[in-house]
């Protein structure tokens, strides 16, 4: 049995032995005062325990997140970029193949010919 439990058991035993009509005995009053004195450290310990648990939980979550980023295949490991075709492909596709040349009325005898090949 822990010390706090033993203390609480003693406290309950002292209260049960006290006569009902009589006021609190001097020993019981002292015991009550010493019980109040133990509450504050207990609260501090509880607060420390809560803080420790919260910190441990956060640390475990962060570790799990980091582990997932490193090991899970679908998790992005680099900054994300929008999906796009290679620049050279885009350049070729956007190029207009059907651009016009320039002709004018003839000004001299022909130097070449166009015909069905």
């Amino acid at each position: 049995m822990s010390r706090s439990k033993r203390n609480r058991a003693k406290h309950r035993a002292a209260i049960s032995k006290r006569p009902a009509a009589a006021g609190p005995a001097p020993a019981a009053q002292a015991s009550a005062r010493s019980g109040e004195g133990r509450v504050q450290p207990a609260r501090r310990r509880a607060q420390i325990a809560k803080t420790t648990l919260a910190a441990a939980g956060t640390a475990v979550f962060a570790a799990a997140l980091l582990f997932a980023r490193v090991t899970y295949a679908g998790h992005p490991k680099q900054p994300l970029h929008p999906l796009a075709a290679p620049p050279r492909f885009v350049q070729v596709v956007r190029q207009n193949l059907l651009q016009a040349g320039i002709i004018a009325p003839a000004d001299a005898p022909a130097g070449a010919a166009t015909s069905v090949s």
Binding site: L97, L98, G101, P109, V116
Partner: protein, 284 residues
């Protein structure tokens, strides 16, 4: 201007304004392209790709670049210039060099329509349905002319079987004997006047209508287009022929001058050509 000529890709190549070294480089370029893209050389890369049973095949960078442009041409012409008509041309009887082609009483095999959208090219990896046979000759000759012209350091021209691109200015004779001044770009002529043959008593030619897979029935016999380069001119001429009556307006919407000859030698021009022929107005 000095001119030299040689034969490649089944036609006469005429080069004007080239030095000796440039001439040699141009001849090498045409012969290389023929080795890669010929339908009639068993060892050409095109035939090796077409023979490949699997759907996925690795191709050379030159092949990938050319196929990319062929697919782009298909997209920009609404599928009129389709690189997947190799089997259809063979079904129509064009399965050997045109000089060796003779009339055949056997009817043409059933055609298969174009399927350029089924081609996927990623880098040098080509994926296509196993029954598709590619034919890139819709763009190969024009691209070769453009690349050959880029080898010239000074003004000059390159003409492959009548598809002509130049740097500088040159007066050019059209198929019906008229002459125009080509100030910039290229002139190309396509039609059914030359490459014709009979299959089962039915006239066939090499300009296939992709939706039907059969030789196109067009009111035009020859169409001449003027493009910024030989590829543009050749695509314009082919599209103008395949579109038939809609050809002149289609090319007008793209500001491309074009001239159309009927089988009876009547000449029609689109609005852009007529504007170009006015002395002070150039159609740009």
């Amino acid at each position: 201007m000095t001119t030299n000529q040689f034969e490649a890709m089944g036609c006469q190549i005429l080069v004007g304004g080239a030095t000796g070294a440039e001439q040699a480089a141009i001849e090498q370029l045409f012969h290389t392209r023929e080795q890669v893209f010929s339908r009639f050389l068993p060892g050409s890369e095109l035939n090796r790709v077409n023979r490949c049973k699997g759907q996925l095949v690795a191709v050379s960078q030159l092949f990938a670049d050319t196929l990319t442009i062929a697919l782009q041409a298909a997209a920009q012409t609404g599928g009129l210039i389709d690189p997947t008509l190799g089997a259809t041309l063979e079904a129509a009887g064009y399965d050997r060099d045109f000089a060796l082609l003779d009339d055949n009483p056997k009817p043409a095999d059933p055609p298969s329509p174009g399927a350029w959208r089924s081609i996927v090219l990623h880098g040098r990896s080509l994926r296509r349905p196993a029954n598709i046979r590619l034919d890139l000759n819709g763009v190969v000759k024009a691209l070769a002319v453009d690349d050959a012209l880029a080898l010239l350091a000074r003004d000059g021209f390159v003409s492959a079987g009548g598809d002509l691109a130049l740097r500088g200015e040159l007066n050019v004779t059209l198929p019906d004997g008229q002459t125009v001044l080509l100030r910039q770009g290229a002139l190309a002529t396509s039609g059914s006047a030359k490459r014709q043959w009979l299959r089962g008593g039915e006239l066939q030619h090499h300009l296939i209508d992709p939706p039907s897979g059969r030789p196109a029935r067009s009111p035009w016999q020859q169409v001449t287009g003027c493009g910024a380069n030989c590829l543009a001119a050749d695509l314009a001429a082919k599209a103008g022929f395949l579109l038939g009556d809609a050809g002149p307006a289609w090319l007008d919407r793209r500001r491309i001058p074009a001239r159309f000859l009927t089988p009876t030698a009547d000449a029609h021009t689109n609005e852009c050509w007529r504007q170009s022929m006015q002395p002070t107005v150039a159609c740009i």
